[in-house]
Symmetry: C2
Subunit: 179 residues, 2 copies
Amino acid sequence: MTIQYAILGLLSRGPLSGYDLKKLISDSSVFYWSGNNNQIYRTLVQLDQDGWVQYTVELQASLPAKKVYSITERGLAELKSWLGSSPELPELRSDFLIRAAWLDLLDPTERMALLDRYAEDVRLQLLMEKEKNRRASLKVGDHPLNARLAGMVAENLISFYENELAWLQKLRAVLMENE
Amino acid sequence: MTIQYAILGLLSRGPLSGYDLKKLISDSSVFYWSGNNNQIYRTLVQLDQDGWVQYTVELQASLPAKKVYSITERGLAELKSWLGSSPELPELRSDFLIRAAWLDLLDPTERMALLDRYAEDVRLQLLMEKEKNRRASLKVGDHPLNARLAGMVAENLISFYENELAWLQKLRAVLMENE
DNA sequence: CCTTTCATGTAACCTGTTACATGATTGG
DNA sequence: CCAATCATGTAACAGGTTACATGAAAGG
């Protein structure tokens, strides 16, 4: 997976500036990149060279000029062809899971404290995802397929964190037995 | 999270060679790195310089000599101190989730085929994780905390894939409504 | 007054990947 | 005979991160 297709996807919904893309990517957990300038502006230059996007410069009074990018027909074709290709398996990068394997090295109070701190962070993240989803779903009145899909994407993340919390409950039980 | 602590953790269970570490890391889904030589051998050199590990060279008849690394007291202290520090939130890198957002661009049969192909891959991965876990749990007779923790780590991965499959069922239903 | 928002871009760096290099032994 | 296992290591590159640079306007 490369960030190019994420950008093409976002542009398939409508024209956006690099600045807009940066915000969308860094605010979303689905687009797992940091959303840093370097990567986004460089990718846009590259996409433009490939003929997958084009841009117009919009001059604004008192605000800096912006480049508004839109997807080209070739870009849309490329996006669709990528969509149809084989998806990779999801990758889980869990710092806590690696720690969990050596938790027996800590004393009982310390490891329980660690678990609680982590569970709290996950709970908070879950709340944030739910809130983001609530706000986003308010915007759409009727529910065309793409809005329902956006909802399903959010639901995936939400269930991911809920699943993690359920697992933490089990882990807690295991640790309690060994206190 | 850096690979150093994963290596320290593995060495905390007993001495291992770079080759052993490479295999353990590439075979496990928890250690999400590729387990390539470059990273592992370099990290070991660095850990040795830091005084967190030490090694002895074991000469073998007809097989190449190997460096057997073990964790030092300072290394163990470092590992424990890392364990006690704040864990990062888990990071989910889902290629399919990004595709899912633009699935309305494909025609109904194509998007259903994509979903099925992906679901099949996830199902297979789930089976592999279960099998790995079954084999690993056979090895241990009694169940000290570290074995139970290893079981819980495996369970986390398994529930992750099961959760994904459940979500795919829901997505399937949504797509059926729009066929 | 200081921070945030808008808006673009570059330099330096770090991490991690693939591929290359060597070479004997064992198993199908 | 070919592939895999054992065992170490390096070179080249791709991908992604942090931090720097500029500069006006609006808001607390």
